[in-house]
């Protein structure tokens, strides 16, 4: 077949043609290019329920295709990179602590501009919304997201372990809190050790972010994180009562040994400990519900956080995520339909019925569907009354910098190598500096 050897030029030409044919030619639209993109974060158990909501939206709006973009471990970084690179998803999940950074930079659309054109929906939303959650996404006069879920923290507890230890069930309502001392005694009674000292059952585990949890204990000792809530000018790390709350939380692991230390947490998943019945109480939000409800043989309920001696009752935090629309979106109308669905009465009722989230509309949170989806929870009031008993978290564009400072300063406090009072000087001063020069 080849009676002549292939010449160098022929070979090069052939290689050139082959290479060119392999190049990915730009196409008008790749797969899903014509779809509405929705960026969100979810653990695997949550993602299933989330997809059901999206499918339902697809059934009601067959003309709008939704392409999901699941976030990695750092959604803020991912969103910034996408949006700066001109590939901003049309609908973005927004977090109470971080959205202000995007809003200030003009990444998010002010939803008031769209609400003004949709007066009927605006009126319904206003009447049905839980104000503290709605206002979380109000920043510098704009509304940059609508809340989709209340993700405040409370305690899950293992009913069987309480009964085995001969303990009375913990409080069922936010209005009937227990004290720090009662909580500690309960955690002590529920912590079991082998003769060698190795813990076989923890009284308390934290499935949230330890530094934030410590701050929540500070809040439950009567002091908010910062003042004012939006664009704060002061963080209360120099307040004695706030510091005492943080110290109480740190002591649970470092001094009282009723909770895993940072070293223990290296090899243990606190969520798995509770799911496996090796921890009696777990602090977390509703995002853990899907995991715990699927855990085999786990009989659990929920209870409120303890209140400190300086506290004014028990409270959770206004953890909330919302849905925002990218200011640069070319599908704003479609995005608006999606946001309206997920945060409006229909979507919220569905969310409540699915057990995915604690919804943020009064009609959905107090609906029969929400109750049916949480049949295994006796103290449903902990969830339904949670938003009304929540203290705020800071809303500031400088959060990323402040968060890095908090992460750095809390390490030794939570390990028990430095007292929480050390935060009064170092951290308080550093944050003040960031706030004065963001």
């Amino acid at each position: 077949m080849f009676d002549k050897p292939i010449g160098r030029r022929t070979l090069l030409r052939g290689a050139g043609v082959l290479g060119a044919s392999l190049l990915p030619w730009p196409s008008a639209c790749g797969a899903g290019e014509d779809a509405l993109t929705f960026f969100f974060q979810a653990n695997p158990d949550e993602a299933d329920a989330r997809m059901r909501i999206i499918e339902e939206f697809g059934r009601r709006h067959p003309d709008i295709r939704v392409r999901t973009v699941l976030s990695g471990p750092d959604p803020m970084q991912q969103m910034s990179t996408f949006c700066a690179g001109g590939r901003c998803p049309d609908v973005l999940m927004a977090w109470e602590l971080t959205y202000a950074g995007l809003a200030e930079r003009g990444v998010l659309l002010d939803l008031n501009t769209v609400l003004a054109r949709d007066q009927a929906f605006a009126a319904d939303l206003k009447a049905d919304s839980i104000a503290s959650l709605y206002d979380t996404f109000t920043f510098n006069g704009g509304q940059y997201a609508f809340p989709e879920q209340w993700s405040g923290n409370f305690l899950f507890y293992n009913k069987r372990l309480f009964a085995d230890a001969g303990l009375r069930p913990p409080p069922a309502r936010w209005e009937q809190p227990w004290s720090f001392a009662e909580f500690l005694e309960t955690a002590r009674a529920l912590t079991k050790r082998e003769r060698s000292g190795r813990v076989t059952q923890w009284g308390f585990v934290d499935t949230w972010v330890p530094a934030y949890s410590a701050g929540l204990f500070g809040m439950n000792n009567g002091v908010p994180w910062c003042t004012p809530r939006t664009n704060p000018t002061h963080f209360n790390f120099d307040d004695d009562a706030f510091i005492e709350g943080i110290q109480f939380y740190a002591d649970l692991a470092a001094t009282h040994h009723v909770a895993p230390t940072a070293i223990d947490a290296q090899s243990l998943s606190t969520m798995d400990l509770f799911a496996a019945g090796r921890a009696a109480m777990a602090m977390g939000g509703h995002w853990r519900y899907q995991t715990f409800v699927r855990a085999e043989g786990l009989d659990f309920d929920v209870t409120v956080l303890p209140a400190g001696p300086e506290g004014h009752g028990a409270q959770s935090d206004i953890g909330t995520t919302g849905l925002a629309i990218a200011a640069s979106s070319s599908r704003k109308e479609q995005a608006w339909e999606f946001v309206k669905f997920a945060t409006g009465p229909i979507g919220q009722a569905m969310i409540g019925e699915s057990g995915l989230f604690v919804p943020t509309l009064d009609s959905a949170i107090h609906s029969a569907g929400f109750g049916r989806a949480h049949r295994r929870i006796g103290n449903l009031g902990v969830l339904t009354e949670g938003p009304a008993h929540s203290g705020y978290l800071p809303v500031t564009p400088a959060w990323e910098k402040i968060n890095a400072l908090i992460d750095r300063a809390f390490g030794p406090v939570l390990r028990g190598t430095r007292p929480a009072t050390s935060l009064k000087t170092g951290l308080a001063r550093d944050i003040a500096q960031v706030l004065s020069n963001p």
Partner: protein, 294 residues
């Protein structure tokens, strides 16, 4: 077109794609980052010229810069010294004519083939305080558990250990290649003169592979100064615990991608470049002087 001109034209055509890639992926980012180092820019709002403010803040008002610089120097020294020493020993061992030496030469290269992220994840398990391999082994000889990645001081030690593990294969291959270029006759003459094996290594091998050693040191310094992936996976994006592993690479990443302060991050990148340039020039001059003296 004459044959010479045609060949010259063909040469330019062949080089053009590489030059274009160099311009797009190297020269443009370099120039752009230099431009950005004099701006305040958060990716979304228009950049604002701030003159030398970024550099001034870095040198006079950012205490974390000195911490990051100190940590980077500690990490660099903690990586280079053991890497060079271990690589010399390993290369000397692999330079022997033994049966199956090819297998060992291949094995020593394995860590280089593993991605840094995978390596860091595996080492996380090794460093686990309660159930990790290292503490289990220390337990066998009666030593208490070490809080490897939990205490700031130990976290830096852990980081250096992983970095040495990653750096040794490359250094070994370079040094081994250099050692194989040393004339056998020199060793034979030294042997006849009664020189011990250690003496032959110190007086013949090491001086004759000085060029390769110098190359290994420079490359290791550059790699150590640019350390990011290992630290990010092993101890997190904040260079924790506390500031235990807060190195310049982490500081740069944090300012660029967490704080979206690209102007400041660019200024830091150019300061890192300047430090590396000075170190490399000094090292090359030192190596040349020693070589001339010999």
């Amino acid at each position: 077109m004459t044959r010479t001109r045609r060949r010259a034209w063909a040469g330019r055509v062949f080089v053009a794609p590489n030059l274009a890639a160099l311009a797009v992926f190297m020269l443009f980012p370099l120039g752009f980052s230099l431009y950005m180092s004099f701006q305040r820019w958060d990716l979304f709002t228009p950049a604002k010229f701030v003159g030398l403010a970024n550099f001034r803040t870095l040198f006079t008002a950012d205490p974390l810069f000195l911490i990051a610089l100190r940590n980077t120097v500690v990490f660099t020294v903690g990586t280079i010294v053991p890497t060079v020493l271990i690589s010399l020993v390993v290369a000397a061992l692999l330079n022997r004519k033994l049966m199956g030496i090819g297998f060992f030469r291949a094995v020593i290269f394995v860590p280089l083939a593993v991605s840094s992220v995978v390596m860091a994840v595996v080492w996380q398990f090794v460093f686990n305080v309660d159930d990790g391999l290292l503490n289990t082994m220390l337990g066998w000889i009666g030593l208490g558990p070490v809080p490897w990645l939990v205490e700031p001081g130990w976290a830096m030690v852990s980081l250096c250990m992983v970095s040495v593990w990653r750096s040794v294969p490359f250094a070994t291959v370079v040094l081994l290649a250099a050692m194989q270029g040393v004339p056998e006759t020199l060793y034979e003459a030294a042997k006849i003169d009664g020189a011990s094996e250690w003496r032959r290594f110190v007086s013949i091998t090491v001086p004759l592979i000085r060029g390769a050693l110098s190359f290994v040191v420079i490359i290791s310094i550059i790699n150590a100064f640019q350390a990011f992936d290992l630290v990010y996976v092993l101890t997190g994006g904040n260079g924790g615990p506390e500031t235990g592993t807060y190195v310049l690479g982490i500081m740069l990443f944090q300012h660029a991608f967490a704080f979206l302060d690209f102007g400041y991050a660019s200024a830091l990148a150019w300061v890192m470049f300047a430090i590396l340039l000075v170190l490399t020039v000094l090292q090359l001059r030192f190596a040349r002087r020693v070589s001339l003296e010999n």
